[in-house]
Subunit: 444 residues, 2 copies
């Protein structure tokens, strides 16, 4: 389908293109536009009806948005911005260079410009920065019939009418009424009597991650945003929250894999950009491995007299790293989902201690069987390896479990404390334990 | 607030408890119930109005659900099940042991029982298994006024009325109409003329992960589920999708950190259960580190003659592991989000090759400066370390980028191919490169 449209576009059959495109969902039209040449992009954009065009505009990548705005007239720019939902307009303006921002703001009415500037001023990743102001507001004294009449009159420009917000004097938020409640109530009922005053709301300055957690906890599809005086200033809808959840998850994953987080798609990111995001942490971790190297150097004589000890270093380090990252991953995830809080540190310590003893014993036992019986390694060396293995697993799991909580308590991102950093710490201690044990048991 | 209610409960002030609880959101009531004793749980549950009670029931943990159903009368069980949305009822029944399932099904009407059994029969993690059948269906010939009348009559039992589904003969899905469209249209308009026939739907047997991707792509709040003949059989709402997204993310993270995925919360999972989920992969990876150990043993003579080489093994292995898991994480995430597909293998290979050359050169250069100039390590050993470092980074990134795609193409889970497995592979090759290079450059 989309393939066929690209063919039509290449043959320049304008009327057919328009008809075919209008059969599609705006998300799919946006996908088609990503496939065509830049001059064709402008041409196609111009043949779309205004409301479809601005819907599509919200879904195309930033580069194409910029190219479009650079290529069309001031009047056309105004047309798009007027039709866009305010949160989409703000998202777009945030990504544009100064000259485009100027062209856009110059072509918006003063009132809209003020709103845009207000939203642009909220801190990044705050609830205010992701909200929209296109919501339905009702008054307590309205009847259901009046309320529905009000929605009929104003609803076409609203991002959602599924939840309506009841405001009192000075726009303070007094409750919510779902469209379902309105439809199922009698025409002459008063909003005051059917509103739900147990409203889950959020402040403009609250973090978007908290907002997402409330959406999840209460299964919401929209949430009102209020200022410090509980005045309604905007709403956030669940489609934006879904994007934020995925974005936060991606960032956590990237940090846990020792990268600087980036919102860009992999295939659309340049080689040097990708390299840049990866190199800092690799350098830090490489240099911190100096400690490990120094420990080995310090015990060179031990290794030289019992050279077989070297063969087990990779196994000990890998197992320690894996054991630690299992624990840190679970705790980081629990913190992110709000299932674990800082006050649970002791519980986590105690749980990880017990789990690590169980896991450590099993691993040490299996390993002893393998190297002592199967590989015929000497008893004392086998014992040294297995004692170290056990202690490494316990250490790795306890450190892995606690470090993310410690990080959070000093306002660092728990995800950054994940596997790579823990690996370095555990590596160093594991080697010291290894050599000290060897010293005691083998007497070197 | 919740604290105060728990106090009231302990003082057994029934009427006060009821009043205080009814001020709360059902999610918060469920949280209160988690805090109280089991016999108090049943008492409180009984003082709640029926509709609130069943709402709360859907939000309490499985153990409490089971305890409740065991403690209340058959009639009360029927009351809850009748009030529950069908998807919540099915979720609950799926988790219960056989005797509870029997008690529940015995107390449901035949029609409902048939529906429940039908939903229970869909494969786990399929769209059918998470859908509900409580949706609003309209006919093409209805006027808007008739449609709204139909919603008024039947809407109270529906999971959502925000999107209505237009069905034709044999219940085939013909289009959707949003409640917004209905409200904003004139009473005498015909549904046929205002419906949207470009419906994004999904089959009962499709995977829930695909369903979630469609919700994200098209910013949906509900999606119809159809059978092979395009007959409407249910709908999925966005609140369930949000849970599924988080669940899939958690599972991916757990697999990437070498654990068997589990849906249970960390703090609520027992020590042996946690140990069980972690030990399999730790054992596999520990035993696979045998290869690495064997390689070191094979080159024991090299290490014995230039013992300083040992000191760099941890750094080489850690850097290789980190470099590889950076790449695998990005690719696994890209695959999960649908941003990368199997046909992109060549693009990924080419991109990782170039990124790894850039990153590898920088790391090797910095490392050379450090060990040759700062630590005074000999030129040939320094060169050996840095050449190995460069080649390890390139190898790790290319393998890390491609392995998840290879896994997906043979229908394995890409996340399982992540860092731990890649580390083992890269460790082994890195050591071989190390010793071969040492052999050539240092002549041992």
């Amino acid at each position: 389908m989309e393939r066929r449209i690209v063919d039509l576009i290449n043959e320049n059959k304008v009327q057919d293109i328009r008809n075919e495109l209008l059969e599609l969902n705006i998300v799919d039209i946006a996908n088609v536009l990503e496939e065509v040449d830049k001059h064709q992009l402008v041409m196609i954009f111009r043949i779309l009806p205004k409301d479809v065009a601005s819907g599509v505009f919200a879904y195309i990548p930033v580069e194409l948005q910029q190219h479009l705005v650079e290529s069309i007239t001031d009047k056309e720019v105004k047309g798009i911005i007027d039709e866009l939902f305010l949160d989409d307009a703000v998202d777009f303006i945030e990504e544009m260079p100064a000259n485009i921002v100027k062209k856009v703001l110059k072509n918006t009415d003063e009132e809209l410009r003020k709103l845009i500037n207000q939203l642009l001023n909220y801190p990044d990743y705050s609830a205010g920065s992701i909200m929209t102001v296109e919501y339905v507001d009702l008054k307590k004294e309205m009847t259901v019939k009046e309320a529905i009449g009000h929605i009929k009159k104003t609803g076409v420009d609203k991002e959602t009418i599924n939840t309506c917000y009841v405001i009192g004097k000075n726009r303070t938020l007094e409750g919510v009424v779902s469209i379902r409640k309105l439809i199922l109530s009698n025409d002459d009922q008063i909003i005051k009597d059917i509103l739900n005053d147990d409203v889950i709301s959020i402040k403009t300055t609250d973090d978007q991650e908290n907002t997402a957690q409330l959406f999840k906890k209460y299964d919401l599809t929209a949430m009102p945003v209020v200022d410090n005086e509980n005045r309604l200033v905007g709403i956030i809808t669940v489609d934006d929250i879904v994007d934020i959840i995925e974005q936060e998850n991606t960032e956590d994953l990237q940090k846990m894999a020792a990268m600087q987080p980036s919102e860009e798609e992999y295939l659309k990111t340049g080689v040097f950009e990708l390299a840049k995001h990866r190199i800092t942490w690799l350098l830090i971790l490489m240099l911190s491995a100096t400690f490990t190297g120094n420990i080995i150097k310090r015990f060179e004589d031990v290794l030289q007299s019992v050279v077989v000890l070297t063969a087990f270093i990779p196994m000990l380090m890998d197992t320690g790293g894996n054991a630690g990252s299992q624990s840190s991953t679970l705790i980081i995830r629990g913190l992110a989902l709000g299932e674990i809080s800082m006050s649970d540190a002791l519980k986590v310590f105690w749980k990880e201690l017990r789990v690590s003893v169980v896991v450590g014993l099993v691993l040490a036992f299996v390993n002893f069987l393998r190297i002592f019986y199967l590989e015929g390694v000497g008893a004392m060396v086998s014992l040294t390896v297995c004692i170290t293995l056990f202690m490494t697993v316990v250490l790795a799991k306890v450190v892995g479990g606690l470090l993310p909580i410690v990080a959070k308590s000093v306002k660092l991102d728990p995800a950054i404390m994940a596997s790579p950093l823990i690996t370095t710490i555990v590596d160093a201690f594991s080697l010291i334990i290894y050599f000290k044990t060897a010293h005691m048991l083998i007497g070197i």
